[in-house]
Symmetry: C2
Subunit: 459 residues, 2 copies
């Protein structure tokens, strides 16, 4: 008996009104779709028809674009979005099989509240929930949550580790079969099936139990995307799916090997942790048609928007001429460290003008923009997948809904034809469909005291 | 031209697996329905068919039943429930007209996060969201949120007032027509349509704006149920709907008159604030049949459950013989003050045994249990409604789904026949359907600076 061939995992990254920051200006774009539940749901249903593994919603609890005034901000299209757990719960009610993953921050939530919400979503969706664990990088969020500034990077990660242990401990509050609801005996649950958490750590103190039965997946799928050292270590310890922005195959292979090694070092099976970079397909029936689409999209970026964007990522460049070369080293900034390092390595090899950089970032948010025919794009996806650079992909649309329709109707059939993408959903839950580690309740029965101790000493 | 006749507002209070704490033991009960989205949704769709104005979900972020161990707790049926905003978002996707109101605490949430969630629900449901503002009364919640004890009553209300102002201020972050999304000009919103909150109060510091367009209702409907002095004042200032537990018509009339006077004193129109007590109809084709149903339900209460329940409400009575008379005055406790005062007044007139009290409370949670034929129950509801005791009712089922099916199929047609309940939904949003104050954005246009100042000085 041989193992079934490894298949590519595919997600759809539903970024507001498109991942291209100026995609909303595209003539075919529905610029207000991030504020239109029915329009959003239509895309997700179409993704389900194409057997996409899951949808993913990033999030931030703020308008996260730095700006000096409303006039300046008003040129940006990524302003409004639904709160993702609210949206995913509504989507759960109108879909059946597609996974539902969203971001929630460990810095601005309470672990008890978050554990309840994801467990509720997992119940309501029959085991399709997933949590992308982030610590939050934006000053703007801090100002909305009674803080004067963004919390220090190391403190954020320290809290994230503890927060995660509390949430997963709460998810194991009850044995899977604890709720017997025995009417005759007047016994609602088996007393030995309840496990108080009694967590007392440096940042959180949480007694439990969760006021909800254990959910179909036990633990909703965990995604994570931190590229820094502490971010990678957290991912290696907790994540089932690692999101990453990778534009260069060699760097992607290095990242892939590093993450798999960290997963193994954390005592986990590297084959059960999926590395899934983002990719934005720009699809044409010919290469020239695709390139013309890409050029049209680049022309949508207003210089004021572009200069602001790179200033946010790389330090202040707002007074520069867009035709100047990007300075090296990059100015000091609070941007995402792993992205900065990647860009510096790339610019050392291939200098680019400021305009070239902001056009590219505007379109892709640092992910791989792949322009060509369906076959050409599938070639690249297959090459990375088969050559140790990824376990699958998160598809990103430059604008909505057309950008998503393109890859759903043109690219997905090509991937299926090659036997790379699934032809139907298999398995009971998102976790089992993705071939991830199952999460039995380690606090049940005999394992209870050992596990209680493990949680008590983890911080 | 005459005004249309005043109509009774009707809500359905979806208490976990039934409002009777032992209702889950009823032979016809689906004891696990609080953990079954599709079962819950079926009841709510049936309520929508009967033109019920809204569903309401109470909440607590804990298993809120004090207990010395799991053995003791395991006899109680109100253990598990979905997180209500997650549930309501899913319900929104499968219903069209029924209002969706749930509880969220000002003590254990962040105002920015909560403002987003209710605004998202209001968008997703096309203007059907409502927020029941509570401060939380249980020690058990505090222990799940890194606190050693329940916050002091007056501090909770002080925070609630400030929290509410921040949330409503965030809901007015954008003019209704702010998002122009002008592709040609590259202008996503009108700069003058954005209003930063810049709130700095004793408990919260929130800059804004909300990262979501103003919702269909502007402000989701506000419900409130605090019966203490500070609770009534908060309700008079902010609420559109006042929930209340009332079992005695005279006391209900006093409460009604007091609340309407407080609303007027707060400068608001008393006719636009609805007083809606709970009522649990126990319906039979004859009075004797209904009484037999009630007796059967009483027999479901295990004495251990009953004694624990009244000890939680009224102080420790766990060692007493259930056949003793209730002591007066009641022991010192942290129970809901208004309920304690009402019970003391009632017991002074009519002494009851401990068992009689716990059976009644077990069934109704302190609300009006009305036992009889549909006509008899409608008589009482009509009498209170026409005699200055209420503006409508929250229907409560002793167990699910049968208890709800009874009042939906037997009582609602009787109320409609009398012209008391609506025969169809009218209006664009829950707020307009209930005849509540509309909430234009007072921060728009000329009113902006005045309103900004009002918010800045409100605390």
């Amino acid at each position: 008996m041989t193992n079934p061939p490894r298949r590519m995992k595919i997600g759809i990254n539903m970024v507001q009104n498109g991942a291209h920051n100026s995609g909303w200006r595209h003539p075919d774009a529905d610029a207000g779709i991030a504020n239109d539940f029915k329009g959003y749901a239509r895309i997700i249903k179409a993704a389900e028809e194409q057997k996409i593994d899951f949808m993913f919603l990033a999030d931030g609890a703020a308008v996260r674009i730095p700006h000096k005034d409303a006039e300046e901000l008003s040129r940006h299209g990524h302003i409004d979005r639904f709160e993702p757990l609210t949206l995913l719960a509504a989507v759960a009610a109108v879909t059946d099989r597609i996974g539902l993953i969203c971001t929630a921050s460990t810095t601005y939530n309470e672990p008890y509240a978050l554990a309840r919400k994801f467990a509720s979503l997992d119940h309501i969706s029959d085991g399709r929930a997933g949590w992308n664990v982030v610590t939050g990088w934006s000053e703007e969020e801090a100002l909305n949550f009674s803080r004067d500034a963004l919390m220090d990077h190391s403190e954020r990660y320290e809290r994230a580790n503890e927060f995660f242990d509390v949430v997963t401990g709460l998810w194991d509050s009850w044995d899977d079969d604890a709720f017997v609801r025995d009417k005759a005996e007047g016994r609602y649950f088996r007393p030995e099936g309840m496990h108080l958490l009694n967590h007392k750590g440096p940042h959180y103190q949480v007694r439990g139990p969760l006021n909800l039965a254990r959910s179909p997946q036990g633990h909703p799928v965990i995604a994570q995307a931190g590229g820094s050292g502490p971010g990678r270590d957290l991912g290696a310890r907790i994540a089932d799916i690692i999101y990453t922005g990778q534009k260069d195959k060699g760097i992607a292979q290095e990242f892939y090997a590093d993450m798999k090694a960290r997963v193994a070092a954390a005592g986990r099976d590297p084959d059960k942790v999926m590395i899934m970079p983002g990719i934005m397909p720009i699809i044409g029936t010919t290469e020239a048609e695709a390139q013309a689409k890409l050029d049209e999209m680049k022309s949508l970026v207003h210089p004021a928007v572009g200069l602001q964007l790179i200033s946010k990522m790389f330090g202040d460049l707002s007074d520069r001429d867009p035709e100047e070369l990007m300075p090296l080293p990059l100015p000091e900034s609070n941007g995402v460290k792993s992205a900065i390092v990647q860009w510096e390595r790339r610019l050392e090899r291939t200098p680019m003008t400021i305009r070239q950089v902001y056009e590219e970032i505007s379109i892709s948010s640092g992910h791989n923009v792949c322009c060509g025919t369906p076959a050409q794009i599938a070639d690249l996806m297959q090459d990375w997948f088969e050559d140790g650079a990824c376990d699958g992909w998160n598809l990103m649309a430059p604008y909505m809904p057309g950008g998503a329709e393109d890859f759903l109707t043109l690219l997905m059939p090509e991937l299926r034809r090659r036997g790379l993408a699934q032809t139907d959903y298999a398995g009971d839950t998102l976790r089992s469909r993705l071939g991830l580690e199952l999460r039995p309740n380690l606090r049940s029965g005999d394992a209870q005291s050992a596990s209680d101790e493990a949680i008590a000493v983890s911080h």
